[in-house]
Amino acid sequence: MSNNIIDPANMIYTKPELMNDNQMHYCPGCSHGVVHKLIAEIIDEMGLREKTIAVAPVGCAVFAYNYIDVDWVEAAHGRAPAVATAVKRLNPDKLVFTYQGDGDLAAIGTAETIHAANRGENIATIFINNGIYGMTGGQMAPTTLEHMKTATCPNGRDIHLNGYPLKITDLLAQLPGVCLVTRQSVHTAAAVKKTKKMIRKAFENAMEGKGESIVEVVSTCNSGWKLSPAASNDWMVENMFPAYPLGDLKNI
């Protein structure tokens, strides 16, 4: 047995094969990279590399297609569920999932989100909720917490002016077309493991035709929040988790 640390026999962890070598544009500490890795691992583990058609959003993940080496359709802002509906209905044997942020899924695309879910489309939705618009420079999102400061609510979100943080997954869990709604995070190794399990369940549901599955990942945006990656994790635990408690909202 060799002691060479680069001996493949000694490798205990590698980059998923489906993650390519393109340099990521995500900020250091951002949750997107971890979730991308999980998706790449799961697609390979399920043997669905040739059967996957992914739908990218508008938002920070607009370039998701640069990193996970499957076929991608880039949707207009908020329209991913409508795009995915047609992709899946016309290709019922494929794994079709959308990857969307809070602005995409819970603001501009609310109608598409609710109606695709209500039709029970056999798709999976990965929903990154970091309470802010990262790509455009840190503006208020539908999920921004009360009193949370952003570029468009510099004095903090005022519920009288801006309404309440939208718990869109709580709404989606009410719909009979939806079979799985779960809220997870990726800030610890244990949380990453759990999120991976739930994304896999969502993909399995989509392939088995059980209806729509939504995996919300409560995430950090250290650039938008103006905190270090480590402080972002702490802030998320203290502030985001009480508003968006982790766990299954529906799992049938």
Binding site: R49, E50, K51, T52, I53, V55, A56, V62, Y65, D69, V70, D71, W72, V73, E74, A75, A76, R79, A82, V83, A84, T85, A86, V87, R89, L90, N91, K94, A111, E112, H115
Partner: protein, 360 residues
């Protein structure tokens, strides 16, 4: 199925023609005066025969994005709507062009602006031909003037869309959509298999096979030098379409002193008006653009050398007349006659307008 003859509405004809073409999907939202398209499809239930998907979406915004998703997979997909619904779809149309996706759109025009009226109109010429969405683009625009052309342009529209990887639109109106005429259907074609689509559309997102790189359908490119190249590629494609795909009909123009230019239902009216004018001794011809883009400028320019004037007759306040003027380029007189708000002109009033405007 061999060639068959039926009597039906223009909207119904669109639905039957789509099934027979071997279309893979239709996504739509009800709106007068085109609702019979989806109603007929739902009644025919093609998912039980050809496997065609038909889905009622929650909005026109959703319909056009379903079309985007289906088209991304190389499928022959379509939607139909009427003017206010088409306005909602313009975002998606721009994305379809930007991502170079083939599909078929149908607009059965009604009067606007706003909620307007459910009566026929041709007031969406600018929106369709000049680009209703953002960015530099053109839309292959087919203008049927009969129920038969509603049938014929479904296959023509799909074929052109796939030939050039860009959307095509049938720009119809409430008259053509609602009127019943005799139609002949071509024989049915089977839908393409996934293997056939992969071969015809190697860019389609149908799942990455080991023999190729991942396909990405997107209109996004942040590097301006590449985005300029993309735009140059689109413009080269549009130029090719202009050179090769212009269609028009010409009636009695050889000896004409005046020429009506009219499309769709207005062209039907003008055909009768030209006959009436000739009975009064005024030699009138008709040029009917079949493709509104590419516009048949050459034939208009040719006759501009010899006629006393062109009258662009449209059910709008004067839209196509701008393209007629560009083609004529000041060589002879050009005028417009139009009725607005859902009023369909009679042949007699068109003749009166001709005499009025040209003093003939």
């Amino acid at each position: 199925m061999s060639e068959e003859i039926f009597l039906m509405k223009g909207n119904e004809a669109i639905a039957h023609a789509a099934i027979r073409y071997g279309a893979d999907g239709y996504f739509g939202y009800p709106i007068t005066p085109q609702s019979e398209v989806m109603e007929t499809l739902m009644d025919e239930a093609p998912w039980e025969t050809t496997g065609m998907v038909v889905l009622q979406a929650e909005s026109e915004t959703s319909s056009i994005n379903m079309v985007y998703g289906g088209a991304a997979c190389g499928k022959a997909v379509m939607t139909s709507s009427s003017s206010p619904g088409m306005s909602l779809m313009q975002e998606g149309v721009s994305y379809l062009v930007g991502a170079e996706l083939p599909c078929l759109l149908v607009n059965v025009m009604r009067g606007g602006p706003g909620l307007g009226t459910i009566q026929p109109s041709q007031a969406d010429y600018f929106q369709t031909v000049k680009g209703g969405g953002h960015g530099d683009y053109k839309l292959i625009t087919l203008a049927p003037s009969s129920v038969q052309e509603m049938v014929d342009f479904v296959s023509l529209g799909f074929d052109l869309a796939f030939k050039y990887r860009t959307p095509a639109i049938i720009l119809s109106d409430g008259v053509i959509g609602q009127m019943m005429e005799k139609v002949v259907f071509p024989p049915s074609r089977p839908r393409r298999t996934e293997e056939e689509i992969r071969k015809q559309c190697p860019w389609a997102t149908l799942g990455r096979t080991p023999d190729r790189k991942a396909n990405v359908i997107t209109s996004l490119e942040l590097d301006s030098s590449i985005m300029e190249e993309n735009n140059n590629r689109f413009q080269a494609k549009f130029k090719k379409i202009e050179e090769n795909e212009t269609l028009f009909e010409e009636v009695n123009c050889e000896d004409a002193d005046y020429i009506f230019v009219a499309f769709g239902s207005a062209a039907r009216i003008c055909q009768k008006a030209a006959e009436l004018a000739r009975k009064e001794g005024i030699k009138v011809g008709l040029i009917r653009p079949i493709t509104l883009w590419p516009f048949p400028s050459a034939v208009i320019a040719k006759y501009a050398e010899k006629v006393k004037g062109f009258l662009s007759v449209e059910m709008n306040a004067g839209q196509m007349v701008e393209d007629v003027r560009l083609a004529v380029n000041g060589k002879t007189k050009v005028d417009h006659y139009g009725r607005l708000g859902g009023i369909v002109p009679t042949p007699n009033e068109v003749v009166v307008a001709l005499k009025d405007k040209f003093g003939c």
